[in-house]
C-alpha cells in the first residue's frame, strides 16, 4: 500500500524549517519532494540597498555556521572588480579563519550525526572538540560566530597569539586521529546505520551539481582550493579525500579526513605567515564592473556574482550557497531506502536551510 508522509517544516532532527514529503511502499521510500523558503529573508534584495560595509555584515549572516566564507567571498568578488591587492598576511589570516570555520562546521555536523545514530557518548566527545575550535575562533576574532574578520582589501584583526592556535589545532588533530576517526570508521553501530545507506551515485551527483564533501563522497574529485587556488592555498600542501561508495558512511569518512587536512593547512599557514599590513587601505567602494568569486566552503563551493556601478552600493549580488545545490539531491538519496533512515540521510548532507533560504 502506498502512502505519503509529510515531514516538516518543523523537524525533530533539525533546528531549521523545511519540508520533505516522502512517498512509501510499506517501509520503503519510493519517492520524495522538497519544499524550502520557510525562512526566506530576501538577502539579495537587501544587498542592493546597503553600502559595501553594511553588505559585509549582512552577508556574514547568510549562514550561522560558515558565516566567514560569505563575507570573504563577497569581498573577493569586489577586490577582483577593483583589482585590489590583498596583503599576504591578510591572505594567510583569511585561510586560517576559513579552515578553523571548516573544523567548526565538520565537528558540528559529526556531533549531530552521532546523536541521530543514537550514539550519545560520541556526540558529547565531538562537541567537546568543537567547543575547543570555537574557543580558538573567539580568541582570534572575539566572537564564537560571525567573526567580522573581513573587510574590503584585507582583514580587520591580526592573529596575535599563533602559538595558542597551533596548540589548539594539534590537540584537535591528535584527539581526532586517536579517538574520533577510529570510532566513526570502525564502530559497529556507526557502520550498521551508515554503510550502504543514502547512496548518491556519481552520475546523480553530477546531474544535481552537488559540491563539497557530498560530491567527494560520490567520487567527484573536486575542491576549489586545489583546482582553482585562491588566497594562498597554492602555497600549502594538503590532500583532497574522496570516496567511491556515495553512502552516508562515505560522507562521514570524507569529512573526518578533511578535518585532519584542515589542521595541517592551519599549521602550515601559521608557519609561513609573513609580517606585514592587514589590509590595502580604507576602501569603501570599487569602480564599475562585475565579477564572480568562488571558494571552497565547509559544505562546498560558495559562488558570488557581484556587479558594481561604481557607487558604494552593489548593483547586484547573487549568492549561491553549497546547500542550495546539495539539498535537492536528497530526493535521489532517499529512494529505495528505509523510512527510518530518512533523518540520517538528510543530516548526512549537512544541509543548511538558513543558507538555502537566504
Amino acid at each position: 500500500m502506498s502512502y505519503r508522509i509529510p515531514i516538516g517544516p518543523y523537524h525533530i532532527a533539525l533546528d531549521e524549517p523545511y519540508k520533505i514529503e516522502v512517498d512509501c511502499e510499506g517501509e520503503q521510500v519510493v519517492g520524495a519532494s522538497l519544499k524550502v523558503g520557510f525562512n526566506f529573508r530576501g538577502i539579495e534584495w537587501l544587498a542592493q540597498r546597503k553600502n559595501v560595509t553594511q553588505c559585509i555584515a549582512l552577508l556574514e549572516r547568510v549562514c550561522g555556521i560558515c558565516s566567514n566564507v560569505h563575507a570573504m567571498t563577497f569581498c573577493m568578488a569586489l577586490e577582483r572588480i577593483g583589482s585590489i591587492e590583498v596583503p599576504p598576511r591578510a591572505q594567510y589570516i583569511r585561510v586560517i579563519v576559513a579552515e578553523l570555520e571548516r573544523l567548526h562546521s565538520h565537528l558540528l555536523w559529526a556531533g549531530v550525526a552521532a546523536e541521530l545514530m543514537g550514539f550519545q557518548t560520541l556526540f558529547m566527545e565531538v562537541f567537546r572538540r568543537r567547543e575547543r575550535v570555537m574557543d580558538l575562533l573567539e580568541s582570534v576574532s572575539g566572537n564564537r560566530v560571525n567573526y567580522a574578520m573581513n573587510r574590503l582589501g584585507g582583514v580587520n584583526r591580526d592573529i596575535g597569539q599563533p602559538g595558542e592556535i597551533r596548540e589548539g589545532v594539534r590537540e584537535i588533530r591528535n584527539s581526532l586521529s586517536s579517538t574520533l576517526i577510529p570510532i566513526f570508521t570502525t564502530d559497529r553501530i556507526v557502520a550498521a546505520r551508515c554503510r550502504g545507506v543514502g547512496i548518491l551515485s556519481r552520475a546523480d551527483a553530477l546531474a544535481y551539481g552537488v559540491v563539497g564533501p557530498v560530491a567527494r563522497a560520490s567520487a567527484l574529485d573536486l575542491d576549489l582550493r586545489r583546482d582553482n587556488p585562491y588566497l594562498v592555498y597554492g602555497a600549502l600542501k594538503f590532500r583532497v579525500p574522496t570516496q567511491n561508495e556515495g553512502d552516508v558512511m562515505a560522507r562521514i569518512v570524507v569529512r573526518a579526513l578533511e578535518i585532519v587536512e584542515s589542521c595541517h593547512i592551519i599549521e602550515q599557514a601559521l608557519e609561513q605567515m609573513p609580517e606585514g599590513p592587514l589590509h590595502a587601505g580604507e576602501i569603501y567602494a570599487v569602480g564599475p564592473g562585475e565579477a564572480v568569486a568562488r571558494i571552497e566552503g565547509p559544505r562546498g563551493e560558495v559562488f558570488y556574482f557581484v556587479a558594481s556601478d561604481g557607487s558604494d552600493t552593489p548593483a547586484r549580488v547573487k549568492v549561491r550557497t553549497p546547500s542550495f545545490v546539495n539539498i535537492p539531491s536528497v530526493v535521489a538519496m532517499v529512494k529505495d531506502n528505509a523510512l527510518a533512515d530518512v533523518p540520517l540521510i538528510q543530516a548526512a548532507l549537512d544541509p543548511c536551510y538558513s543558507c538555502t533560504d537566504r
Partner: protein, 135 residues
Amino acid sequence: MSAEMLRWRIGGNWAQRADGWWLTVPLGRIRAAARLMREGGARFVALVPREIRAGKLHLSWHWDFRGTLLSVETELAPGVSAPSIVDIYAGADWAEREARDYFAVSFAERAATPPLMLRDGDTPGILLDAEGERP
C-alpha cells in the same frame, strides 16, 4: 577532455576574464551549450539573472570544469521565455525557480515553474526595478 577542448566544441568567441571564460550567445543556443557541457562532464554551478534596463534581463549560466569557470550569457527581452535546461541538469530546477521568483523569468520546455522562495500565489519578480521597495 580539457576545458579548452570543451570551449572549442561549444564554439563561439570565448573571452577570458579574471574569474574564468565567458561566451555571449543568442538565446536559442543556450540548450545546445548546456548539452555539450553535460556531455563534457562540466558541473552546473548557477544561473544569474539581472536587470539591465526596464524589464530587459541579462542571464548568465555558469559551469565548472575541473576548477575553470565557464559562463554563457545572453539577453532576454521583456515577455520572452528563457530556455530551461532542467531536463539536461536536474540541479538547474531550483535555479530556474528562483529566477522566476526574483525576476519573473518564465521558462520554456518545462510544464511549470513553481515558486521556490515565494509562496503559491505571490507575484514573482521581487528584484525587478518596477517592483520598487516591495520586499
